[in-house]
């Protein structure tokens, strides 16, 4: 199967000139960053139309990351979802182990076009940080990654990987010491070093043009999956399901199915200890419209507009905001967003590991938990596509502690 690697959204689906998807998006940034953000937008528009850029990007995705990624049917897992037919889009098989590398390679090529020798990024679970460190090593760019102290502890392996790749990992000690605070620090760095530096934003959030640009780079996920599923089954799925933190893997999957009214688009948010508990990161389930990190979207906040601290067992979903296009799809009713608790995600994590021999990222396990629910609704005639956005190696310490694997002599509980 051939794959088209760079697939900007069709006209009419992109945001408007000011970066709005309906009521969401925009550019809420300090004046010092306006010129830099505009430069990224201008350069991205030029790159989109430049055959050399798209060819180089496509070649990297084939030869370096291993696209197209596989589509794997998971019948033993699906038996636990009422016997629905279920396929996983295997973004975990990309180089560096997640979908993140795709956006990173696109933006590193863009940084090179802009003549920026220094790249900064933020990371929660480390997948985006590792991908950024990897691409910067490949292109010889200086790389700084901001990471909350809490996340550095729970993702020590990825911290070591980034350092091995020559990246400086800067611990962030402010606020909740997680992803939100790492993004704040990266913005501060960008304000101070904007002439030499590209801020390689990791998800489909932030100020315009990042939500649209990251989505475009990730659209390949859904376009490939759509072709692959039609080849294999002759039909479209009843539901396409993905986890949602900032939302890049989900948008990448959803976009290819937006015109297909019969395909349910389901985003699985991190509900932590439960939405009612207050300890969660379920932004669309429990947030309100607001401004965070440069755009208007749904945000976890108090009645005075202070951002509240999120919680998720997954460092990659531990974020109080969400990309503005998801907010728009939610308000349109085109996509549905469901909360998945830590415990539900971890049960799905273990189930996929034991039924299919695939250890998923804890982020992706949220999508798998959602798929178990949707599968039971659809029954045996249903067809589900799940985006397996990343692999679980990085999460083994968290999983081992959760399941008590360090404390048993034999098989775990």
């Amino acid at each position: 199967m051939s794959s088209t690697f760079f697939i900007p959204a069709p006209e009419g689906r992109a945001p408007d000139a000011e970066g709005y998807f309906g009521a969401f998006g925009g550019k809420f940034i300090p004046e010092a960053l306006v010129a830099a953000v505009d430069e990224v937008a201008d350069e991205y528009e030029k790159a989109k139309a430049d055959p050399q850029f798209t060819a180089e990007f496509g070649a990297l995705l084939v030869d370096y990351t291993g696209r197209p990624s596989a589509l794997t049917e998971v019948p033993r897992f699906a038996e636990h979802a009422g016997g629905v037919r279920m396929f996983l889009k295997r973004e975990d098989l990309n180089h560096t182990g997640s979908h993140k590398i795709t956006n990173v390679l696109g933006q590193v090529l863009l940084a090179r076009r802009m003549g920026k020798p220094r790249v900064i990024a933020e990371t929660g679970a480390g997948s985006h940080g590792v991908a950024t460190a990897t691409a910067c090593a490949l292109f010889g760019l200086e790389c700084i990654v901001y990471m909350g102290e809490v996340d550095m502890e729970r993702q020590a392996l990825n911290v070591a990987r980034m350092r091995m790749l020559g990246t400086k990992v800067v611990p962030v000690t402010s606020g909740s010491r997680t992803l939100k605070d790492a993004i704040n620090e990266a913005f501060r760095d960008w304000v101070a070093n904007v002439e030499s530096t590209h801020y390689l934003f990791g998800t489909a959030a932030g100020p315009h043009p990042f939500p649209a640009m990251v989505r475009d780079f990730q659209r390949v996920i859904g376009v490939e999956a759509r072709h692959q599923l039609l080849d294999r089954t002759g039909r479209l799925p009843d539901a396409a399901i993905a986890c949602v933190g900032g939302g890049s893997n989900a948008l990448g999957l959803f976009h290819a199915f937006l015109p297909d009214a019969g395909v349910r688009l389901v985003g699985c948010e991190a509900a932590g200890h439960g939405v009612e508990s207050g300890k969660h990161a379920a932004t669309l389930s429990a947030g309100e419209p607001g401004i965070l990190h440069g755009s208007r979207s749904y945000v976890l906040q108090d009645e005075e507009g202070q951002i509240t601290e999120p919680h998720s067992i997954s460092a990659g979903l531990d974020y109080p905001g969400i990309g503005p296009e998801h907010a728009h799809l939610n308000d349109l009713g085109r996509a549905e967003y469901v909360p998945v608790t830590d415990d539900q995600a971890m049960r799905a994590f273990r189930l996929l590991s034991r039924t299919e021999g695939i250890i998923p990222a804890i982020e992706s396990a949220h999508a798998l938990a959602g798929a178990l629910e949707v599968g039971r609704e659809l029954g045996r005639d249903g067809l589900i596509l799940v985006n397996l956005s990343g692999r679980g190696d990085k999460d083994m310490d968290t999983a081992a502690r959760y399941f008590g694997l360090y404390d048993t002599d034999g098989e775990s509980k």
């Binding site: 000011e18 925009g26 550019k27 809420f28 940034i29 300090p30 004046e31 010092a32 306006v34 010129a35 830099a36 402010s174 606020g175 939100k180 704040n184 913005f187 501060r188 304000v191 101070a192 070093n193 904007v194 002439e195 309100e288 607001g290 401004i291 965070l292 990190h293 440069g294 945000v299 906040q301 009645e303 005075e304 507009g305 202070q306 951002i307 509240t308």
Partner: protein
């Protein structure tokens, strides 16, 4: 219309007539406590600051350095509410008669209610707002309410702001223009005098509004240097640091008094 834009305009005009630059002080509300913050703001206004910016602390202050973020954290952990910020404005203005602005990120105001905030700020005698992350193209709704309430909208311009955009910003703004002296977050540093002077020159070419320079200014010598080419000098982090360093409130206020007096001398010695 009850806001104090006119007072701000008159204050800056009379300072210009004196042939000197204005000293603009920044302190966050609620730091170290609400009452302690009011006392600190009154102290800087009584010791030679001409205008004060009252910070509305935010959980995610992306444009601020670690000193102001620390103060914001302390204020929020102390339970600061927007009503306390409004009270701070009211008491500071009532006690001194000087122009009091609020400096904030946009989300707290948008969430609180734009009209409600503008009305309450004006009723408290506030002169206007500086909104760090509300760029001109997103500002129409705020400016509409601010205008109705007689409040200034002070925009920030940066060395990276191109001339065409400068014209758009200064055409939309009122009160004065806040020129960020260097690219960077708030904090004490060596200021780039040449870059700031160039930005002031480029800004003046687009507007008759006073152009005040901030970000990085902390010493009387720096204040004097900036006063040589700008209509006002804004100082924030140095004041916050003085309070953070003080072992108790009395010492802190004495320290603020000394720093303000020295900076006020600085802005008078610049020309």
């Amino acid at each position: 219309m009850s806001g104090n834009l006119q007072l701000l305009n008159d204050t800056l005009a009379s300072i210009r007539a004196e042939g000197r630059a204005a000293l603009i002080a920044y302190l966050p509300a609620g730091f170290p406590t609400v009452d302690g913050g009011v006392a600190a703001i009154k102290t800087v206004l009584d010791s030679g600051a001409d205008i004060v910016e009252v910070g509305l602390p935010h959980s995610d202050p992306v444009l601020d350095g670690p000193v102001i973020q620390t103060a914001d954290d302390l204020a929020l952990r102390g339970g600061l509410k927007i009503a306390d910020v409004i009270r701070t404005v009211r008491e500071a203005h009532a006690a001194t008669g000087k122009p009091v602005l609020v400096m904030s990120y946009w989300n707290p105001i948008a969430r609180y209610g734009i009209e409600r905030f503008a009305t309450e700020l004006a009723d408290a005698g506030g002169a206007g707002c500086i909104l760090s992350d509300l760029p001109v193209q997103e500002s129409a709704t705020w400016r509409d309410h601010a205008g109705k309430q007689g409040l200034a909208t002070v925009f920030v311009v940066a060395p990276s702001t191109r001339d065409e955009r400068l014209r758009r910003i200064t055409a939309a703004g009122s009160g004065f223009v806040y020129a960020a002296s260097t690219m960077g977050v708030t904090g004490v540093r060596e200021t780039d005098g040449a870059s700031a002077a160039d930005l002031v020159r480029r800004t003046r070419a687009t507007t008759d509004l006073p152009v005040c320079v901030g970000i990085g200014v902390s010493t009387p010598d720096q204040a004097a240097e900036v006063a040589g080419f700008a209509d006002g000098v804004a100082v924030g982090t140095a004041f916050v640091q003085a309070l953070l360093d003080a072992p108790d409130e009395t010492t802190g206020l004495a320290s603020l008094r000394a720093l303000t007096t020295a900076l006020a001398r600085g802005v008078r010695g610049g020309r």
